[in-house]
């Protein structure tokens, strides 16, 4: 099984979720994160005190899938999260050794 971590722009969340639903992804975990990357942050100015905010709001998706779904899922994300502008984000893929469904105790691929 694989873990797909995708960092995307917040306003793309609904599109991505829908696309993933459509191809049969059953579970996603979403976290609000702040990203530091090529895309530049903005400047805030409070009574003369200037703050450069390097970190931009991003959404992190964690999706664990069986190996056979991997490609389909990443493609779906790339398609929907892409706005062509800097800061669109990245996808990181790593290996997951085991998955357990807490409610039933099922393990492995069928627990995904």
């Amino acid at each position: 099984m694989k873990q797909i971590i995708a960092i995307i722009k917040p306003f793309k969340l609904d599109d991505v979720r829908e696309a993933l639903s459509n191809i049969g992804v059953q579970g996603i975990t979403v976290t609000e994160v702040r990203g530091f990357g090529r895309q530049k942050g903005h400047t805030e100015l409070y009574r003369g005190a200037e703050y450069v905010v390097d970190f931009l709001p991003k959404i992190k998706l964690e999706i664990v899938v069986n190996d056979n779904m991997l490609e389909q899922v990443t493609e779906a994300i790339i398609e929907t999260a892409n706005s062509g502008k800097i800061g669109d984000g990245k996808i990181f893929i790593s290996n997951i050794e085991n998955v357990i469904r807490i409610r039933t105790g099922e393990t492995g691929p069928e627990a995904v």
């Binding site: 306003f11 609904d14 903005h42 805030e44 100015l45 409070y46």
Partner: protein, 439 residues
């Protein structure tokens, strides 16, 4: 000023203190005490009342833009009022007095001009300065109501330009028509005790035109745009409700029976509308909501505004009930039906509520229905209603058309809307360079 002749006679009869005052044109410290307080209450409605009510319904990335706009409008309206809008509204326009007050009282010299007895000028029993200030607070909240319609996407510069021009060209004249002696709707005996046409219809229709011209928010209506903090909206609702006593009971201009009844009818209409809106949601959606309660309260307050000093407790109850139904439909169905993006329901609540109230004021002022009598020159519901509808239509037409023209011009010159990118990022950071929350 809101003294319709018939109403005036009525009040005089009731209040020996005023009657006496009129004889000698004497300042009454009690009336003045109440009216100074009323000024504070009505300003409180805009800052922070309305800015909370609206800001809570916006998304968090635009919260400060709303609050900033309210503060800025407070500033602009005050300055313009002093320069000339007061004169347009309450001056004497000579030959043209039926349509505007002229520019003879620019910079408000009349406030400090002493009379033969070396006394400062009064309006009724209160200092002219207090009356001018009270009316200013109305000139502040009216454009502030409009911003709810085009929230979250309009250029700050365009708002400043629009509001400034609108105050001069729309608010000043309409106020004169309805409330200044000699104004043509005033002379027609239109009943608008505290601002159904001048404030709510006026702002509501301007908002409707503006939100259509500025266009929908990006993503509307498919993207979710839930209110970012209904807690703020509820706080704002409480403040608006309380401040509205200044608005409505203050419009009596004295501290007597008239003010007392205006306050009481205001309370009744607001309460009834709150419960009605909550009831509708409960029955049809199964979930009565805080936003529904808040919306109902404001709907009732808006609708009772033109009527509060002229109807009885039971009239207020009916007005509250009907307004909640109409505004509920306005804010939920009408908008969906026609697909415009009146973001915070400036038209859906204020336009519609104001209209409902202005019409019903013409009915429930009837003594037979517990009211205190018709406006000058009217002797039955039929003729009064006609006058009310004329008032409403004129305001819709005039405010709508001028708003349209103003926005067309501003669009050409500086553009109405922020860029897509700025809209996505949020006005707070993109336009104002700051964030609402750093928790």
């Amino acid at each position: 000023m809101k003294l319709k002749t018939s109403l005036y006679a009525f009040i005089l009869a009731l209040m020996p203190s005023i009657a006496a005052a009129e004889e000698a044109a004497k300042l009454d410290s009690g009336d003045t005490a109440w009216m100074i307080t009323a000024c504070a209450l009505v300003l409180f409605m805009t800052i922070p009342g309305l800015s909370l009510f609206y800001a809570g319904m916006a998304r968090s990335k635009n919260v400060l833009s709303i609050m900033m706009q309210c503060l800025t409008i407070t500033g602009i309206a005050t300055i313009l009022w002093v320069i000339g809008v007061y004169s347009i509204a309450f001056g004497n326009g000579g030959d043209l007095n039926s349509v505007w007050g002229g520019l003879s009282d620019m910079f408000m010299g009349s406030l400090t001009a002493k009379d033969a007895n070396n006394a400062l000028p009064l309006v009724g029993t209160i200092p002219r300065s207090v009356h001018a200030m009270f009316q200013l607070t109305f000139a502040i909240i009216t454009p502030a109501l409009i911003i709810g319609a085009f929230a979250e996407r309009m250029k700050f510069g365009a708002i400043v330009a629009f509001v400034s021009a609108w105050l001069v060209l729309v608010y000043g004249p309409v106020c004169h028509w309805v409330w200044a002696e000699g104004g043509f709707l005033y002379s027609d005996g239109v009943i608008d005790f505290a601002g159904g046409t001048v404030v709510h219809i006026n702002a509501g229709i301007a908002g409707l035109i503006a939100c259509i011209m500025v266009g929908k928010r990006k993503g509307f209506p498919t993207t979710k745009m839930p209110p970012h903090s209904l807690v703020l909206t509820c706080i704002g609702t409480g403040m608006l409700w309380v401040g509205w006593f200044g608005f409505n009971a203050g419009s009596a201009l004295t501290a007597g029976h008239g003010a007392g009844m205006a306050m009481f009818t205001t309370q009744i209409a607001a309460a009834t509308a709150t419960i009605t809106w909550v009831g509708i949601e409960w029955i049809f959606h199964k979930k009565p909501s805080a936003l529904g309660a808040a919306s109902g309260a404001i709907a009732g307050l808006v609708a009772i505004t033109p009527a509060c000093g002229n109807v009885g407790p039971m009239g207020a109850l009916v007005i509250g009930f009907i307004s909640a139904i109409c505004c509920f439909l306005g804010a939920t169905k009408l908008k969906q039906r026609f697909g415009y993006d009146d973001s915070l329901d400036a038209f859906g609540v204020h336009g519609i509520g104001g209209t409902v109230g202005a019409v019903l004021a013409g009915i429930f002022c009837a003594p037979a229905l517990g009211g205190i009598g018709f406006g000058t020159g009217h002797e039955g519901i039929g003729s009064q209603l006609t006058a009310q509808i004329v008032g409403i239509v004129v305001t819709y037409a005039y405010s709508g058309v001028i708003t349209f023209i103003l926005l067309k011009i501003i669009d050409k010159v500086i553009g109405l809307r922020v860029s897509e990118e700025e809209e996505t990022e949020g006005l707070d950071i993109a336009v104002h360079g700051e964030q609402g929350y750093n928790l």
